[in-house]
Amino acid sequence: MANSTNQSAVNRKIFDFVEVLKDADISISVDEVLSLFQAITEIPLDDKEVFRQTFQTTLIKDYTDIPVFEKCFEEYFSGRGKFFDDINFRELAGLDNLLTPDKIKNLSEVLENFLNSLDESVFAEKSESDILNLLLDELNDSGSSGGTGISIFRTGGRLTASYFSKAADQETQLSEAETAELLNLLGKMMHLKISRRNIGKELKEREDYLLNKFIYQLSPEEIKEMRELINRFGQKLKNRISLRKKKVKRGGLDIKKTIRTNLQYGGVPFKLFYKNKKIDRPQLVVLCDVSRSVNQYSRFMLLLAYTLQSLFSKVRSFAFISNMVEITDLFMEMDPERAINSMFEDTNFTYGWGSNYGRCIDMFIDNHSDALTKKTSVLILGDARNNDNDPGIESFKKISEKSKNLFWLNPEKKHLWDWNDSIASTYGVHCTEMKEVNNFIDLTEFIDKLFLDI
């Protein structure tokens, strides 16, 4: 009996954890949960590494999800370790003699059992302090807190607590301050246990928050976090697009292969082979304004473009402030992130003061127009703040004419376009589209759509 209740508690925990993973946006099918339960019976449960790998091998099929899984697993199953970290023992000096680790463990078990006995809906409806009150009521009803050796009573709206020490074989009444501390401790434990259920949601929310935040408002710490996210997200996007692209290729009869294969059947075309129609992967030319105002934004775009490099037949990238410089080679030789960093060391983008779109566009047409073919999609990133220079509109028209399509991604809010020194709409009319894109989600959506048109 004890074994089977223990079993169901374990099962419940596993289900809970699967929910956490699902909250973190990892897709898990019923089939996979089944094989997890099959697998659990085959392994020793006391080996953490084996336990973790069993979850990972049965549930996580996409390697880009592994970091997320690891985070969730650590948070969820190392709750106890974390629990002790979070309690400041000095703060609880008053309870020093009473709270041995054993007692804390006992208390934690009482709490766990209590939480398990509650209906799921309670967690959604009630606040943590409400749930704590429920626990106190329950303890009150049952007369004592069982094996903890600590009892908490509510008498006339006041809480009193006492603890029973075996050594002295007597009950000691706790002072008011001690009671308050005990309650504080219980509250903290409760918070940790309840929030454990939300690990997945929290991760997902954090991710959504970062992806939706204005890129130029990201703090340096957030940018670090973003890098990892871009890698993961870029990989996912790449996988998705490459899967989709292959579905549409189908072509005419491959005569050479058909004849060759059917020679063994006396030349009778017994088996037919079809040519796979070569889908022209798009060529991409990225022109990035890397001046201070949009620098961060361009970095992300370049990082994304090169993460997705294999999807394009060719990616050429150029950066400019008031000088147009090709930076493709840097990316050929180095890891994208390093390339972006070294870009500023090696190259001089400035000529005179501030951004000069017109000059750069002229330079592009003069020196690099070989980059443009009818298969090329051109992406320009920038705020079109030209510092009242000549817009170079003739050259810009040429870019538009020579390429398949021309997109301008503008990180500025739409109502700021054309305000002050921005000449967004001067360029905008010659673009296939000028879009306001200022967070990462929109950026990936844009790339995703780029492939749909092909």
Partner: protein
């Protein structure tokens, strides 16, 4: 079969394959649950080797199928031996007309012919390809489907039946179910994503670069001629190099090459100078080499 995770790891070690706890767990579970394993990870970490070593540790046959673009069911599952079928119809012409001779109508002749079994579409005229072979073998086999990411997405569809039910359906004959369920290992370098349907049917194993201790064990096992001192220097250095942002990180096989080369060149000690001279054994891009030399102070601290 392996009886526990520890045994899995020990038996594989005997085949000179050092497993991490994670690898041993997945292999053990795959055998226990009789599920295929999809192995992913960077190139050169021993994905294919794992399948080979499982086969030799269990002392069973390894059937290997290398995937490539354009691989189709005729190369992977089965093929009808058309020439043989044609030849036999010629040889058996008389016999055939004997059977059908008495019938006057065409419909009658066809009926007669079909009554005597579908001779030409029987197992005798079937060429089994790797997958069908592993299913019909009387002994258990390891079926290695290597570099599945190189095949076309359509090809995955042929695999689904094998992966979930261990059977192959041939329209003309019927369904072949596995006599002994093979151990199926699929490897992928993640050149493209596998479909969800395929992934759902498999256990997943991601093999990353090994930890320091593991890699040292591997080197001392595979390059026994290298001294313990040199091995640990090589491994520590490679591990540090991997932390740089390189275009192509050195994998285990490169670590092994390097250790072997250093032994062969007669070095007993890896100092900065020898390391830089022989960097081209582990780094394949000039820029990577330059970057490493730039950071030589942190990298070559032996």
């Amino acid at each position: 079969m392996f009886s526990s995770i520890e045994e899995t790891s020990k038996r594989l070690e005997k085949e000179k394959y050092i497993t991490s706890r994670a690898i041993a767990t997945t292999v053990y579970l795959a055998l226990k649950l009789e599920k295929p394993v999809l192995v992913e990870g960077p190139a050169g970490v021993g994905k294919t080797e794992l399948a080979k070593c499982i086969a030799s540790a269990l002392d069973i046959e390894l059937i290997r199928m290398q995937c490539y673009e354009g691989l189709d069911e005729a190369k992977a599952l089965y093929e009808w031996e058309y020439a043989k079928q044609l030849l036999y119809t010629q040889i058996l012409k008389d016999k055939l007309s004997e059977i059908t001779g008495a019938e006057e109508t065409l419909a009658g002749a066809v009926k007669r012919l079909t009554e005597t079994e579908d001779v030409f579409f029987s197992e005798k005229f079937l060429i089994p390809r790797p997958i069908l072979k592993s299913i019909t073998k009387k002994q258990k086999t390891v079926l290695l489907i290597d570099e599945i990411d190189k095949s076309d997405p359509e090809f995955e569809a042929f695999l689904l039946e094998v992966l979930s039910d261990f059977q192959v359906t041939i329209p003309e004959i019927g369904t072949f179910s596995a006599i002994k369920k093979p151990i199926v290992i699929l490897t992928s370098n993640s050149a493209r994503e596998m479909s969800d349907a395929l992934k759902r049917r498999c256990l997943h194993l991601y093999i990353d670069y090994p930890t320091l201790e593991l890699e040292q064990k591997i080197v001392s096992l595979k390059v026994p001629e290298s001294s313990a001192r040199l091995s640990s220097q090589v491994v520590e250095t490679v591990q540090r190099i991997r932390t740089l942002k390189l275009k192509k990180e050195p994998s285990i096989s490169e670590t092994l090459d390097w250790a072997k080369a250093l032994v062969m060149l007669g070095y007993e000690d890896l100092n900065e100078k020898t390391a830089i001279e022989t960097l081209n054994f582990i780094l394949k891009y000039q820029k990577d080499i330059e970057l490493t030399i730039e950071h030589s102070r942190e990298i070559f601290i032996n």
